[in-house]
Every structure is written in C-alpha cells, then in structure tokens.
C-alpha cells in the first residue's frame, strides 16, 4: 500500500482515539502525509493556504448567519411560539415534536440549500424544546442531523450545481426537479423511524387542545411563521440569494426578539454574537483542515487509486453498482461533500454510465450517499454542528443514528433500483431526454 495513505490513516486514527480535537487531528495527519512528498516549508505554507482558502467562500456565510438567527429565535421567543403552534397541531400524536422537527429541518434545508444551516437554525431551538418536553436528548440531536440533509436534494441546492459542473453538463434544472422525490422519500422514512421510536420509547403525548387554544397559538405564531415566508418569498422574488437569505433571517429574528417581543435586551446581543462566532468557528476549523486533507488526498491520487482497485474486483454489474455505493458511503464517512463530489464524479460517473445509469440518476445517488456521510464521524460537518448545538457527544449520537442510517440507506436503495423516482419528474416536465 502507498506509504502516504498509511501515514494518514494511522496518525489520524491514533490522534482521534486519544482524544485530540477532530479538527487538529485532521490537520496534523494532513501535514504528516504532506511531508512524505513535499519539503517542510512549502508543506506548512500549503497547509496554511488550504486552510485559509477553504474558508474563502461566500456560500459558507450561511453557517454563521443561520447559527446567529437560530440563537435569536431560541432566546427571543420565536422558537417557543413556533413550537407551541406545532404542538396544538400535531402534539397530541405520540412523538409529535419529532415530526415537527423533521418537517422543519426539511423545509429549512430545502430553502437554505445548506444542511449545516438547517441543523443549526432548527436544532438550536427544537433540540432544547424537545429536551424540556421529555424527549431523549441524543435522539433529538440525531433526528435533527439526519433530516437536515434532505434539504440538499430538494432545490435550491448548491451541491447539485457543483455536481452538474463536475459531471460535465447534466442540466441543473433537471437535477433540481429530480431531487424532490428522493428528498421527500428520505424525510418520510425518517418520520417512520420517529413513529417507531415514539412507540418503543413512549415519547410524551400532548393533550388534545381546545379550539380556543388552537386559534390563540396560531395567531401568536403568525409573525414567527412569517419568517419562513419572508425568506422563501425573498429568494423566489429574486430580492436576495439563498446565502443572503440567511442574513435576512438574522435581521427579522433580531427585529422580532428585540423590538416586537422584547425578550432580548440590546445588551444581550454581544454575548449572542460571541456564542454564534464560537459555534461557527468549530465548524469552520473543521472545514479548513478537511480542505487541506482533501487537497493532499488528491495530490497523492489516493481517491483514484482506491476506486480503481475496488472496481477491479469483479465484472458483475450488480456488484459493481453496489461497490460504487459502498465507495461513496466510505468517501462520505471521511470527506466533506464538495471535495467528494468534485473528486469522485469524474472517476465514478463513467463506470456508472457503462452500467446503463443516466448521469442524472447517478448524481442523485451520489448526493444521497454523501448525505449519509454528512451524519457520520469522523468527518461529518452536519453531525458536528448537531452535537455542538445539542451540547452532546459524537459517541452518544451513534446509537440513535443507527436506525436513521438504515432508513436513509433504504431510501437510497429504492432510488438506485427504481430510476423513475429520480427520472420521472424531469422527463415529465421535458427537462431531460433519456440518453
């Protein structure tokens, strides 16, 4: 085996196990790997440059802004009103809040195009609320993390745009439409997991509300619900981009909490800004060091070598198809989504096409695989944000996440073997002609 990959895997695993912060472990193992083929000074300079470069992206601004708006919503009374409203609607069912969580995360992920943003915005008020209502803390974080990734399949989605580029020309419009059914399918399966959990764990059942309560809670929730309409409406009307929408969410949440509800004083703003900055930075340092890691992986041609070796194992198309998916799942476990799409699309797409898959179908399969990866350690930005907002550990999230992985993989298998799930809508709307 290539010495550089051995150094990478061994040093990373060792540092991680003894309890070194994940971001530092990624950085150190990247540097050690780089030193195999690059001199010390260019190696440290390159690592520093990749760390800085990894953060030099406008789309990442959604992270601090949605984290900040999430904190404002949580402390400013918006979240409470939304949850009260959701409770009178479906709180009387077992596990009602869990369903509310899945729906909110899907909706938020859908409009923001960012799973990290959905986890931080919805998670930072839904998770504490669910905790208070007697739901299991780790389950709450896990369901937030898993359901946030569905928004990457539902348009708008920057990752689908990146796939379109990497694939050398699959229509973005077609990809956007293709993502709807798989995204909603994944959300539906996650809700089934919630329903089963609710029965087994005897999640709290709210009282059946009287009509007066329903009316009152709905009325109170209108300004908070308006946030969603302002954000979606603004994007659709072309007033701001999906990333800029995050700052509008900050503005509106700030306006409600400071001026309308007066549940936050102006003096509370500074600690909120610092808290948001700190939570943001935890994620950003991970993105910075994983950018450096994926750089050295590509530089050493490790992804290409690995997939070549794995694909040489057999001639059976079904086995190759499953192997591709296993490769993608493993990639998602260790890599961030954007570099993974850019590196592996040119490698795996030709293989998939030789098996008769359309580039459209393969793209959706790839993103679904990587969505699962976003929720797995050791490198999973959505998981990290989920742990961070829920104040819980990665280790304790694994158990509640297991059935959710299963649900997501089940949705993935359906999408793999029923091409119509991703291809019907684009063909129906005339956006895609099957090759």
């Amino acid at each position: 085996m290539d010495p550089s990959i051995l150094i990478l895997v061994i040093s990373f695993t060792f540092l991680l196990i003894i309890g070194t912060p994940v971001s530092i472990s990624i950085g150190v193992s990247t540097l050690l790997t780089m030193l195999v083929s690059i001199d010390f000074i260019p190696a440290v300079t390159t690592t520093a440059q990749r760390m800085g470069g990894g953060l030099n992206s406008f789309s990442l601004l959604a992270i601090p802004f949605f984290i900040l708006s999430g904190l404002l919503m949580g402390q400013g009374g918006i979240a409470r009103r939304l949850v009260e409203f959701a409770k009178v609607l479906i709180g009387m069912f077992p596990g009602g809040l869990a369903f509310v969580n899945v729906i909110s995360c899907t909706l938020f992920g859908a409009i923001s195009g960012s799973a990290v943003a959905a986890t931080s915005a919805i998670g930072s008020f839904m998770i504490p609320t669910m905790n208070k209502e007697g739901y299991d803390k780790n389950f709450n974080a896990a369901i937030t993390v898993a359901s946030s990734t569905t928004g990457l399949l539902i348009p708008p989605s920057n990752i689908l745009i990146i796939y379109s580029l990497a694939s050398g020309g699959v229509s973005i419009a077609a990809l956007f439409v293709a993502g709807y059914i798989p995204g909603l399918l994944m959300a539906a399966f996650l809700m089934i997991v919630c329903a089963i959990y609710a029965r087994i764990k005897k999640f709290p059942v709210g009282e059946r509300p009287c009509l007066k309560d329903v009316a009152l809670r709905s009325w109170e929730a209108i300004p908070s619900l308006a946030l969603i309409f302002i954000v979606i409406g603004g994007i659709i009307k072309g007033i701001f981009t999906a990333t800029e929408a995050s700052v509008i969410a900050v503005l509106y949440a700030g306006f409600l909490s400071l001026v309308v509800y007066k549940e936050i004083a102006w003096g509370d703003l500074k600690p909120l800004l610092v808290k948001a900055g700190e939570t943001t930075a935890i994620v950003l340092l991970l993105i910075a060091t994983s950018t450096a890691m994926s750089w050295i992986l590509s530089y050493e041609n490790i992804p290409q070598d690995l997939s070549t070796q794995l694909l040489n194992l057999t001639e059976n198309p079904l086995v190759i198809l499953l192997t591709i998916n296993i490769i993608l799942l493993l990639v998602g476990v260790f890599m961030d989504m954007t570099p993974a799409v850019l590196i592996f699309t040119p490698i795996l797409l030709p293989v998939a096409e030789s098996l008769g898959l359309s580039p459209l179908h393969f793209g959706i399969i790839m993103i679904m695989n990587l969505c699962i990866g976003l929720c797995t350690p050791p490198v999973g930005s959505v998981l990290f944000v989920g742990c961070s907002v829920a104040k819980t550990s990665i280790g304790s999230l694994i158990k509640p996440l297991l059935p959710m992985y299963a649900a997501m993989i089940f949705a993935l298998l359906l999408v793999i073997f029923i091409p119509a799930l991703s291809e019907f809508l684009p063909e129906f709307f005339g956006l895609y002609n099957m090759p």
Partner: protein, 309 residues
C-alpha cells in the same frame, strides 16, 4: 514506468475533463513525453481538485505545485500587465489578437510575472466574452441600461460593464445559476463554451455576441520549477507547449461552434449586433480606463493599437 530520473511536473486547473483546455493539456503531456524520450511527464489534476484559480497561482509561488492554467483575469491581482486584457474592444478581431499574443507584446506579457515567481509558457484561446440576459434581449448598449449584469470580483471587470452601460453586480460564481433564475441579476457575460457548459442558457434565453473583451487563458510554470530544469528540458517543455497552443485553438474553435449550435437548439436567441455603437460607447471611456492603468500598461496598449491593420 516512473523511474527515478523522470521529471514529473504536477499541473492543476479548474476546468472539467471535456473542456478543450484539458484535452490540449493532455496533448501537451503526450508531446512532452515523446520529445524527452520519457524523461519528462506531466500529471494533470482537473476540476479544481487542488483549488481555485487564485489559489493555484499561490501554490506556484509557494512551490508545492509546478504548473497551472488560469484565466488572465485572476492574474491581475498578481501581475499588473494582465489588466491590459480587460480593456473592451482593444483587439479588432481574432487575427489582431493572435498577432499580438504571438509577437513581442505577447512574449513580454508572458514573462512579466518573473519577479513574482510566475512564468508564462503560452496563451490558450478563451474566445470573446459576450452578454447574456434572462428577460430582455440586448441589441444596443442602450438596452443594457438598468440591467444588473453579474461580473467577476475585479475592479476592471466592474469598470468594463459599467462603461458599457450595465450595472455591474459581483455574485459568487457558484450562486450565479440560481441568481439568474430568480432574478437577483438580469444577465451575465461569458464566452460561448462556458455559457453552454455552465447551463446558464437554461435560464438566460438571449445571447448577444457583442464580443466586448478577449481574455486569454495562460499556462503558468512556477519560476522555482523552471529554474530547476536544464536548458534541454526547458526547450522540450516550451516546444510541447507551443504545439499544444495550435491544437487548443483548433479545439476551441470547434467547441465555440458546437456551443452556439447547442444553445440555439435549446431555444436561445442568438443576437449578432452591430458592434459600432458598443465601440463608440467605450471610446471615451476606454481612454479613461487606460488612464487608470499603470504607465507600463499604457505603453503596452499603445503597442497593441499599433498592431491594428
């Protein structure tokens, strides 16, 4: 096949593997291998896997990457001379453009980055940039008034679009498709193959071939790497480069043709405007744009104008 004496140069760029540039780079690598009897090789990293264009230039300066292909526009941040290319209607036509690049002026520009460790090996064709718009066709410069046109983050690009009468709007490239779709901006500008491969034609249904700027691509080598090669190796590399330039121009012409046919087939109205009003519009403004250029660039611009027929 790799032996210890083999000199392998790592080259990274941001385009996909179907792009004429990538094919021409592969051709260059093959030619180099043949010329050097296998003593030299080029490893190509496409699709931005080692970073964006600005970052790849920095890696050449750091010394961890040997070569890259970048547009001359991000190079403006590193080398003043590159700002020359953002002057609208500087070149009369394709012929004038290539006469300039293949002559002394082109040679001077290629070597102008030596002091910042960046050595240009040759120019690739990146065609002419033209406007495309979503709702309103652009026939004359007056049609640009009030239209928000997306530009790259650069002073000269902003100045160029404002000069022509549009309202220059910097938008991150990755957000441009949805920005066009949702009306955050009314249009953008690029060459035909990029208009096609970015899929922006799905949203923008009018393409006005006003061909306001000709911004070449440049193949750069790190000065460290270049100095490390012996004269014979430098010679092999340069002649492989020169052969690939000819090949790439042919591929580019084909790609442009195909892209225009493809977008037209997809329902885009291709407008071939009278360029005179556009040229008049920038005449005074171009002079003032040249005023903002460093003295050295004014000299280059004058030399380029002298090469007009």
């Amino acid at each position: 096949q790799k032996n210890d004496r083999q000199q392998t140069l790592k080259l990274a760029h941001t385009l996909n593997i179907d792009h004429p540039v990538h094919k021409a780079l592969i051709y260059m690598a093959e030619r180099l291998k043949e010329k050097s009897y296998g003593a030299m090789a080029i490893d190509i990293y496409p699709s931005g896997q080692l970073g964006g264009e600005r970052e790849l230039i920095e890696l050449l300066q750091i010394g961890s990457l040997a070569m890259t292909k970048v547009s001359s526009s991000p190079l403006e941040e590193f080398i003043d001379e590159m700002k020359v290319f953002s002057t609208p209607y500087l070149f009369e036509d394709n012929d004038h453009f290539w006469r300039t690049l293949n002559g002394d002026v082109g040679r001077h520009i290629l070597l102008s980055g030596e002091s910042v460790f960046l050595r240009g090996l040759g120019f690739y064709d990146a065609g002419s940039r033209s406007f495309y718009s979503v709702n309103k066709p652009i026939h004359t410069p007056d049609d640009l008034a009030g239209l928000k046109i997306r530009v790259q983050q650069s002073q000269s690009a902003i100045q160029m679009v404002n000069t022509l009468g549009g309202s220059a709007t910097p938008i991150a490239w990755g957000e441009l498709y949805t920005a066009l779709q949702q009306g955050v901006v009314d249009g953008a500008e690029n060459n035909p193959p990029s208009f096609w491969s970015s899929k922006h034609f799905e949203v923008a249904k009018y393409y006005t071939l006003d061909e306001h700027t000709m911004v070449p691509d440049i193949i750069l080598i790190s000065q460290y790497t270049w100095d490390h090669l012996n004269p014979q190796q430098q010679g092999w590399l340069q002649s492989a480069m020169d052969e690939s330039v000819v090949y790439q121009r042919k591929l580019w012409a084909e790609a442009t043709e195909e892209a225009l046919e493809a977008v037209a087939a997809a329902g885009v109205e291709i407008i071939r405007p009278n360029k005179a009003p556009y040229q008049q519009k920038v005449q005074s403004a171009a002079a003032s744009a040249a005023q903002n250029q460093p003295q050295i660039n004014k000299d280059i611009i004058n030399k380029i104008k002298l090469l007009r027929k």
